[in-house]
Symmetry: C2
DNA sequence: CAAGATACCTTGTATAGCAAGGTATCTTTC
DNA sequence: GAAAGATACCTTGCTATACAAGGTATCTTG
C-alpha cells in the first residue's frame, strides 16, 4: 500500500547494505526484509540498473547449499553515488518535514478527539 | 532528477498545507514550491485523486485578479487520512534511516577523501 | 525420485510525477 | 479596443519504479 514511498529509496538502501559487505540478490531481499518490505520482483531489475550505472560489479560464487550466487560488490563510483543519494535523501526528508511542521496537527497532543 | 523520491509524499504535503487553510491548486503549487519542486502537471491530477477519495471538497470563489478559483477544503476523512499518512511516513523514514545507519559511511567524518 | 529450499530471472500491470501544450479570464498599456 | 501578460484551469503522453505472478535450475534430504 505504501509502495509509492519506496520509489527511489531502494537503490540507496541496497547500496548501503553493499557498503557493509558484498552480497547477492536473494540475500539482499532477506536482509532488507528485516526492516522493510521488498520483493524479488523488485530486486532483480534494480540490481541490473545498479550494474548498468557501474555502481556495482559482480562475481559468481558457488554455493554448497544451492545454485551459484551472483555476488554484487560496491564500486568506487557506487560509493560516491551512495554518498550523493544520502545527501539528497536527507535534504528531501527535511523538505517534507518542513511542510509537515507547519501543519497545526503536527504536535499530536490531543488534536484528535 | 530526484523525482522518484516524491512519489507518495506529495498528497500528504498537499493535505498538510490544506490543514492550515483552504487553497486552490495554483496557489498550492506556489506555496509548496517554496520548499520543494512541484509542477502544475502534477498538482491537477493529484487534486482530482484527493477529491475522488473524498479527502477534500471543493468550492468556487471568484477572483478579482483572474478567473475563478477552485478552492479545496480538507474533509474530516482527509484529516484522518493525513494523520495516517504522517504515521506511515515517519515509520518509513525510520526504516530507511535504520538501513542507512548500519552503513559505516553513515558517520560522515573523514570518510570521503 | 519427489519435495522443498535456494537462487536466478522475466513479463505485465499499476502508479505517480512531469514536460509540454492548450483554454479562459482579467488587468494593464498603448 | 487590440495586444500582452499574469492568473487560473486542465489534458495528453512519457518515464520510472515497485510488485505480483510465473518460470527455470540447482542442491539437499527423505
Amino acid at each position: 500500500m505504501k509502495t509509492q514511498l519506496k520509489k527511489g529509496t531502494l537503490d540507496m538502501c541496497v547500496l548501503a547494505v553493499l557498503a557493509q559487505a558484498d552480497s547477492y540478490a536473494y540475500e539482499l531481499v532477506s536482509k532488507l526484509s528485516q526492516g522493510m518490505e521488498i520483493s524479488e520482483g523488485t530486486i532483480y531489475p534494480l540490481m541490473r540498473r545498479l550494474q548498468n550505472e557501474s555502481w556495482v560489479s559482480t562475481y559468481l560464487v558457488e554455493s554448497s547449499s544451492g545454485p551459484s550466487r551472483k555476488y554484487y560488490k560496491l564500486t568506487e563510483a557506487g560509493r560516491l553515488e551512495l554518498a550523493t543519494m544520502r545527501q539528497e535523501w536527507q535534504e528531501f526528508v527535511a523538505e517534507v518535514e518542513n511542510v509537515l511542521r507547519d501543519d497545526p496537527a503536527a504536535s499530536t497532543e490531543g488534536t484528535l478527539q
